[in-house]
Symmetry: D2
Subunit: 461 residues, 4 copies
């Protein structure tokens, strides 16, 4: 029996390596086809083979693509030498041709068959999975080529904004349920509430991925800016009259396809949705997000970080609140009191006086985190803001409008953001200038937060 | 008055150069925008400015794009040196980045605004016009970048085949009239006949160019292969029952957008149309073109070419027909008789015995031309077949099925092809093998032409 | 307090009657508008008022429509007299005009406003509800006018067959869940299974009711005829390859809108779906239903009916099975044994030998019921088949193909049909002849049921 | 030979009468089919037979429909007697059933087959043609039944307004060219100009007649009201910027299908188009027609009419203009001068002083004609306005805004309207009241025409 199992295992390995071998043969063949006559057929075979592959077989396939279809070193050296001797249009064109990986043409040809784009996007998703498991460097050239082509193919000019409503195909709606990762959609009744008359949902689609949203945003139409999440997520919340709304709240933005990571469209989406809403609802004057701070808890918990970003500055920030925090908790050190309470809040929420005492320090520390906490050196993004959501919206030209303690009391809200939510406000006329300022290192906040920001900045020095 | 005219001219030049200057500024700005915040707005301005440009201003704009947005020579030299020192993934990535013209990113960003793709395709069309007027080399880098991106954007995977019928929008039909350059469409009644029940028309569309066909093909459904063009082009020809047809004749294929020259889709088109027709008409068994030989007259006329391609071989090919040609014309030298007749045919068509006497030698010489005449050295395409249409279909895997003397008696048919038409037949199961053979230098003809081809080949030695 | 309640009730009644009064005024106004200028506005008001009405207000509105918009008796008498005196085209036209209720024109005019058709269909649904509660006769004239117009408006020529799939709008899919009354759909996962690759669902739509299916049918593609329901309703059943199916099973047909009762389209639907399936699946040769016998249990239970339809004949039918039934149950009277078991089966299913012993007698009694049990005199449908589903399919020209004991073991299946299912088979070429025979009183069964039918018929005498 | 021709003629007659006989048989069969099983097939055969009929065969077919499918006189007499004896719901229902021609059900059943509606509409068109040729009375019962059903089927609630543009299918655009009868469209270039950015065209469609417009209106967007037709019909007129327009001119309304005559939708169309335009162009404040006076010339020419409507009143109306008319023409009697000039204008247009002298009297007489000329007794429409276009717009609630001498100088404009055009203005808020007034006999004119109308009315006494 054991021998039989061994026999089976060997057979399986042989088949798998044969498929690997097939793929090598097929890819070379696809690339060498001079007429386009049979390209589509070979491309189709590659696509089918890839789809039939299990996760275990993929790394060797990726490895093959990296090894076999990279540019020829000798050719590059020759072209480099030529260019150095005689820099000009012709030698540059030759060098340019020499450095382009044949892989790019291979990928373009795979894309000619039906289902090509879909498969290639899935392939990059798989590649990112594999890379996370410690092979990152190894497959970088393949990833670079895919990214390069995807940035071309998924150019904003080729994306189509579409409204998603209860009239949309179930096939697409089902994907919203699957892809919503900010605020989970609990089944069809929940989804339906999010598509009622006082909500809007928009997605970008790409013509080659007909029933696959690329990115989508959920919007609530309200009276004034909302800081609390719960009413928005309650499937039984009454439906309000959208014609009376003066505010649009963007409460969830989701990238759908892992394979398109780092191919950015989110900022285009928000701006185009603002334009759509402005056209449909002349009464809406305020465009704001209701956003999480996904690394707030992580940043705070890291009190021992070597740069001392948070802890000591925290103490300074909390000094003003010392009396109320100590009286509410009985602890003498306000910082300690604060952190304990927050830590405990993961189990059960503070209430009454304790809760009231926490609001102001929580919002102040949150503002400090959003505007001053930066990634440590060494991460490749040194000096960038710690919070990715803040980076996204501020770089788009939005400003920090409001911070809301106890705005998201769902488990993940408390876990990641200590329950705090942020409103980033998009003032259409200010976006460009705010964006420019942000590039120069300046962060815009609403008038109501000016003094608070000063206090925070002073304490942070 | 003269002074005033001079003043106006200067003002105009200043405005034009200012626009040129504006464009330089705008392009740099578009490229330097770090956030995507205001990209679309700047891209839109560039698009509008380009559209407002007259032909006289374009060369300096193209020149600016070539000059200002080429890769930095110093950077390339540095990256080359690094790569030479230490060839590897990282240095290759750096070199690759160094050689890519910033122009490519610029073009990608222009494409993010509405109308971007359309404008960029038009721009390349303009560039090809300008280049034909003696500036070819100068703008090659810009053309290379556009071509590179277009090959990505207009990848087969993004094209959509659509049937064109009398139900199609007039906006699109009007473009068929405009773009048909093989057999001119004389107004709406002519077009309508070409879309009747016994015809089919298919086009490729690209999602970013919604009402712009990229390439289209016109098909007639018939009983058996047709060699004569006239019945197909007669707007008053009776409409036959398509369900009785056993043959599909592809009688016109047109690329629509000059800006997409050398971005090939024609072969994909024919194959997909064959599939569509097969699905709709189970009775259709034969797929064939009815094609011109656009350089036949040119090749024959060139009897004094330095390689002596045609003339002396022609004599040999005509020897068999000597008696009939001399008796029909009264000339003793058959080659002379033949050529005179053909030359004369441009003015008026031979008829009766003369015409009958010409059929066989005309078809034989045409076969020789199609299969043996090759481009002279020096043209960059040395050794390729002389006839571009033959190259296209044979490379696709079609075979030469039939040659038809006096098949196209329209002025342009006589002028270019001495009235001869060719049927290239697509036998789906043979396409791949034929294509491979063609790549190796072998040309497939129908059984009926085997002996004729042997005779021709013998004479050609 | 009590007085205040009384005051409120009076106020409400006044408002209601005022609305009633409004409606009377509005309806007269709509009918008297000579130009069509303001018709739409008045129609819209009537529609809005009707929608705002509660169930309690409707009867008096219906009553008003019956009273005020009936034809004028004096006018009819006059026209009748004229016709009698001088029967001819003119007097007939006058009489015809006199007998048509002005209500019909009123209804046609209500239909000119947006939402008109929808509201009128809902109105008839409400009318049927009210009529069932003992007012049947009173509103018959109104019902007759609605029915008359609906038969015109919902003429087969205006209905559009559409496939329903997972790609269909959630708005419509949701209605399938709501309207499915034969085999309840338990949520979206259940629905999704019924729309997988091995199923088909088709509905008729009317252009004025854009997102409202009128009637729909669910079809399973299978190998051979299925007698058991459970595999079809199991949401986890594996999806089979539809291209291998040779049989289409119509397992659920649902009329969606109560207001369209007695406006028949079901037979058109089945025939058109057969045509659609034949076009898509050339391998499918057998079209069959899997149907309930909704009044089987009721008919059997009624052993004491005054015409003695069932009981004594039952005894005769069971005589052949006496030995096995008595041995399996220990009862001496087989009929008694049989009925006890069936009665008991409502609580728990017989199994093993008992179950095996029941199959044959159950199927025989079912066949007898389907083919011989007829409605008692007095019901207005005297002599018609007892089973409405049998009437529907047999009248369509289908035949009884198979009877399946223990085919539907769901509670409602056991409750209504004693668990028995029937396959009615549609043989396209036989439909017309079968239909004619059925009209003459003859019922077609499959060859396999011929002898059984003879036995049953003999016993029934 | 003559005998052979006679033989052929007889054969043809036999075949035709056989087809007539077939139809009689088929129609009876369609009506007697109890199940709907084979209805569609029989209906299809009737449709095909009707389409194959030549004009010569139709009258006997119509005659058969009138004869064979009228209600049964004996049945009517019986039901009348019953009703007289006992007038009530039941006897009324019976009488109602007795008077309805079986033809109606026959027509409804014909409509169940594909192409049914289209064929029935064509049939009524043919019927109106035949009736005009002196058989009017004979086929009235058939026409009444068709009209009755069409009023139900083509209820406003089932029509769909669609914009027609250059993006519309050529199949539909071609029909615009065919159906435009007010201002002929001379080919595709002319049509195209009428669909440019400064024009709008809308049509009603019915779901059963997918590519057949029912009625359409052509609109020009302009600055201020236009009185002259020529600029609107000039295919080379420059395209103006629609966003600057403040006025919409409805310059052509066409009913497309003769078979729908007297099934009115025109008024619905104008009102809905006004709503569409208001939504698209907030700047448009004025909605006006540019209309002909199609019977003006006929009415004026009829100077000898027995009621003396025009002539003597004309003299009074022209008295004010006597000096200028006599000086311009040299004739002493101004009325004579006027009519001579107008009569002559059919050959060539007056110019200079003559033309200037004609403007005021022409517009005054036109106003008199529009507002006072009424149809003579005996026409069945006694007392109605003489001008059908005026009746249509005034009854819709529009007012006479302006009258324009020499507004339409095309041959048909001069022939029918003596070159005069009228602007009927639709002021949305006034429509209802104007309509009511018109019903009571009052005609609204613009403020600018008030004094003129007084003068005209005084002279008309």
């Amino acid at each position: 029996m054991v021998r039989f199992m061994g026999f089976l295992t060997n057979l399986l390995r042989a088949m798998q390596s044969r498929r690997g071998g097939d793929m090598q043969f097929l890819c070379h063949r696809l690339l060498s086809e001079r007429g386009e006559a049979s390209q589509t057929a070979v491309a189709q075979e590659i696509i089918n083979s890839y789809r039939a592959m299990g996760p275990a077989q993929r790394p060797s396939f990726f490895e093959m693509l990296c090894r076999e279809f990279s540019p020829d070193a000798a050719g590059i050296l020759r072209a480099s030498a030529e260019y150095q001797k005689n820099p000009g249009t012709k030698t540059l064109a030759a060098l340019s041709a020499a450095v382009e990986a044949p892989r790019q043409e291979l990928i373009r040809r795979i894309n000619t068959a039906p289902g090509g784009t879909e498969t290639l996007v899935a392939l990059r998703g798989d590649l990112l999975d594999v890379s996370r498991n410690g092979n990152a460097g190894a497959f970088e050239p393949l990833d670079a080529d895919l990214r390069h082509l995807f940035r071309s193919w998924f150019n904003r000019g080729f994306l189509r904004l579409e409204r998603i409503s209860w009239q949309t195909s179930a096939l697409i709606l089902e994907k919203l349920i699957r892809y919503e990762s900010v605020h989970e959609i609990n089944g069809w009744a929940d989804l339906r509430r999010r598509l009622e008359a006082d909500r809007r949902c928009f997605a970008f689609f790409h013509p080659a991925l007909a029933s696959e949203p690329i990115i989508f945003v959920e919007v609530a139409l309200s009276s004034g800016i909302l800081g609390e999440l719960e009413p928005l997520l309650d499937p039984h919340a009454p439906v309000s009259d959208p014609s009376r709304a003066d505010t649009a709240i963007f409460y969830s933005i989701n990238n759908c396809l892992k394979g398109l990571r780092n191919v950015p469209f989110g900022n285009f989406l928000i701006k185009q949705v603002v334009a759509e809403l402005a056209a449909e609802f002349p009464n809406i004057k305020i465009y704001s997000t209701l956003s999480p701070m996904p690394r707030f808890a992580q940043a705070l918990a890291d009190t021992e970080d070597k740069d001392g970003i948070t802890h000591e500055r925290l103490v300074r920030l909390l000094e003003d609140f010392a009396p109320s925090l100590t009286s509410a908790t009985g602890k003498r050190d306000p910082a300690e009191a604060f952190l304990r309470l927050l830590g405990r809040s993961r189990e059960r929420l503070p209430s009454g006086a304790l809760r009231r005492a926490l609001v102001a320090p929580l919002e102040r520390v949150a503002l400090a985190y959003l505007t001053h906490a930066r990634l440590p050196a060494g991460a490749g993004k040194a000096g960038k803001l710690y919070d990715p959501v803040a980076t996204f919206h501020l770089s788009n030209g939005a400003r920090i409008e409001r911070i809301n303690a106890f705005g998201n009391l769902r488990p993940y809200g408390i876990e990641e953001s200590f329950g705090v939510t942020v409103n980033y406000r998009y003032v259409p006329d200010d976006l460009e200038e705010n964006h420019e300022r942000f590039v120069r290192g300046q962060i815009e906040v609403s008038r109501g937060l000016h003094r608070e920001l000063e206090a925070v900045s002073a304490a942070w020095q």
